[in-house]
C-alpha cells in the first residue's frame, strides 16, 4: 500500500528528527523524566492515529501543539486524582465507594473538569450549585447575592459552554 508506506516514512522521519527535541521540551515542563518520556511517546501515538502525512512547515510547532494538549490533560488528571483521594480520605468507612465505582466517578470528574474549563468562577459556581448540589435557581441567587435573572443568564452561558466543549 503506497499510502501506508508514505505515512510510515513520514512518521519515521518525524520521530527521527524531533523525538529527542520533544523529549527535552517536555522534560522542562513536567515534574519527572518518566512522565516526559511517556508523553513524548503518546504524542507520536496521536500522530500515528491521525494517519495523515501532511506537509509540515513547522513540524516542531505541530508536535508541541499535540504535546501541550497531553500535558494539560496530564496535570488535570493528576490534580483530580489527588483531590479525589483527599476527599475520600475524610469519608466514614461505609460510605467509601468500591474501587470500580471510584474509577468511574474519577473519569466523570475529569470530564466535567474539562467541560468547565474557561468558565468564569462565578458562572462555574452557580452551575455547580445547580447541577451538582441540586439547589434551585432561587436558592443559588440568594446564596450568591445575585438576582434570579443573573442566575438564569449564568446557567444559559454554562450550558452553552459545556455543550460546545462536548460536541464541537
Amino acid at each position: 500500500m503506497p499510502a501506508h508506506s508514505a505515512f510510515s516514512s513520514f512518521l519515521t522521519a518525524l520521530y527521527h528528527d524531533h523525538h529527542r527535541w520533544l523529549n527535552g521540551w517536555l522534560r522542562q515542563r513536567t515534574d519527572c523524566p518518566h512522565n516526559a518520556a511517556d508523553l513524548a511517546q503518546d504524542t507520536f501515538v496521536r500522530v500515528l492515529l491521525q494517519r495523515e502525512s501532511k506537509e509540515l512547515r513547522e513540524p516542531r510547532a505541530f508536535l508541541a501543539t499535540i504535546a501541550r494538549g497531553l500535558l494539560v490533560d496530564h496535570y488535570r488528571r493528576a490534580s483530580l486524582e489527588r483531590a479525589y483521594l483527599d476527599a475520600l480520605a475524610v469519608l466514614p468507612e461505609p460510605e467509601v465507594p468500591s474501587p470500580e465505582s471510584r474509577a468511574l466517578v474519577l473519569e466523570t470528574l475529569i470530564e466535567i473538569d474539562r467541560l468547565l474549563d474557561g468558565l468564569k468562577p462565578r458562572v462555574r459556581e452557580a452551575f455547580l450549585l445547580s447541577q451538582l448540589d441540586g439547589l434551585t435557581y432561587g436558592q443559588i441567587a440568594e446564596r450568591m447575592g445575585l438576582s434570579l435573572s443573573s442566575i438564569q443568564q449564568y446557567m444559559t452561558l454554562a450550558f452553552s459552554h459545556c455543550y460546545k466543549a462536548l460536541y464541537s
Partner: protein, 316 residues
C-alpha cells in the same frame, strides 16, 4: 462521533431548560416545551444531549464530587503548570481569539520581552504599557472592553481616557484587576501578584470570587487567587527599571540577584550564606558586570565565575 446540530436549536433547548428550572413558569409552559421537542427531531436531540450533560453531574453527586473539583482547580502544581503552558498557548493564540470574535475586529497583540529587554508600547487608546525584562502579555481591545493579560514578569500601565468609555481590565493568574483612571505597576510572582498604584485607583478581584478590594494611589499590596493582603505605602523606587536602573534600599542580596538575573543571560545565583545581606545603591540594569563588581566592593562577597554565564555570589 456525533451529528452536528445547529447551535440555534441548542440555544432554544437551553432557553427551555433554564425557563423550566427557574420555577417561575406557568403550568402550560411544560406542555409548550414538550410541543417544541416534538416539532423536529433536532429539537429532541438537542434536549437529549442536555439531559446527558446534566446526567454526568448527577452521576458524581454533591459532597465528594464538589470537594474534588474545587480541590483540583486550586492544586498549586496544576496552577503552576497551566500558567506556564498558557504563555505558550498565547504565543499562537491571537488567531484563535480573532476567529471567535468574527463580528467585530478586535485589536490584539501578544507582546514578549526577553532577558535584558525592556519595551514601551503605545496602546490603541493612547495609553502606555511599559514591560520589564522577561515579561509576557496579551493585549486585547474589543468594542466592549480593554483587556491586558499578564502571564509573566512586570508591567507598568498608564491608562488613557477612553472616548468609548470601555472598562480597563487586567487578568493575572491570581485574579482580575480593574483600572480606575490610573498609573500602576503589576508584577507576577508565582503564587502572588503585586500591584503598586501611583495614581488613581485599582480594584482587585481575586479569582475565587471573594470580595474585591480597592487599592488607592500611594499604596501597594500583594494578592493571591483567594485573598488580598493589607496594603502598604508604595516604594517609589519599585518602578526605577523604567529608567534603566535598579534603586536598592536595604535590599536583600537574594532579591537583588533575582532582579539582575532577569537582565542578563545565563545563571546568576546567590549563595544562601549571603542571601540575607543588605545592599543599597543605584545600579545600571544594562551593565550587570558593573553592578556585580559594586556588590563585591561594598559587601563581604565575591563574584565567582564558573563560566562567563554561570556566576555565583558567595561569601569571601
Amino acid at each position: 462521533m456525533s451529528a452536528p446540530l445547529n447551535m440555534a436549536v441548542v440555544e432554544q433547548a437551553i432557553a427551555w431548560r433554564v425557563r423550566l428550572a427557574s420555577g417561575a413558569c406557568a403550568a402550560d409552559e411544560l406542555s409548550a416545551c414538550q410541543h417544541w421537542r416534538a416539532q423536529h427531531p433536532d429539537n429532541e436531540l438537542a434536549w437529549q444531549r442536555l439531559d446527558a450533560l446534566s446526567g454526568r453531574f448527577a452521576a458524581v453527586g454533591p459532597g465528594v464530587g464538589r470537594a474534588t473539583l474545587d480541590g483540583a482547580r486550586h492544586d498549586p502544581q496544576r496552577r503552576r503548570a497551566l500558567k506556564a503552558l498558557a504563555i505558550l498557548v498565547a504565543a499562537g493564540g491571537a488567531g484563535v481569539i480573532a476567529q471567535r470574535n468574527d463580528a467585530i475586529q478586535p485589536w490584539l497583540a501578544d507582546v514578549r520581552t526577553g532577558i535584558g529587554e525592556r519595551r514601551n508600547i503605545v496602546l490603541p487608546d493612547g495609553g502606555r504599557l511599559h514591560l520589564n525584562a522577561g515579561t509576557a502579555v496579551d493585549i486585547q481591545y474589543t468594542s466592549e472592553q480593554r483587556l491586558i493579560r499578564l502571564y509573566q514578569g512586570e508591567i507598568f500601565v498608564e491608562t488613557a481616557a477612553d472616548p468609548q468609555r470601555r472598562l480597563f481590565w487586567m487578568n493575572t493568574a491570581q485574579g482580575r484587576l480593574r483600572a480606575l483612571g490610573t498609573r500602576f505597576l503589576l508584577r507576577e510572582r508565582g503564587e502572588l501578584c503585586e500591584v503598586a498604584v501611583y495614581e488613581g485607583a485599582v480594584e482587585v478581584h481575586p479569582d475565587d470570587g471573594s470580595n474585591a478590594s480597592v487599592i488607592n494611589q500611594g499604596w501597594q499590596t500583594r494578592f493571591s487567587h483567594h485573598a488580598v493582603q493589607t496594603p502598604q505605602a508604595v516604594e517609589s523606587e519599585r518602578s526605577s527599571w523604567m529608567d534603566g536602573v535598579l534603586v536598592a534600599r536595604h535590599m536583600r542580596l537574594a532579591d537583588f540577584t533575582a532582579e539582575f538575573s532577569r537582565q542578563r543571560r545565563g545563571v546568576l545565583r546567590c549563595d544562601p550564606a549571603v542571601a540575607e545581606l543588605r545592599i543599597s545603591g543605584v545600579f545600571p540594569l544594562d551593565d550587570s558586570e558593573r553592578a556585580l563588581q559594586a556588590v563585591a566592593r561594598t559587601l563581604p562577597v565575591q563574584v565567582l565565575y564558573r563560566t562567563r554565564w554561570w556566576v555565583t555570589l558567595a561569601a569571601v
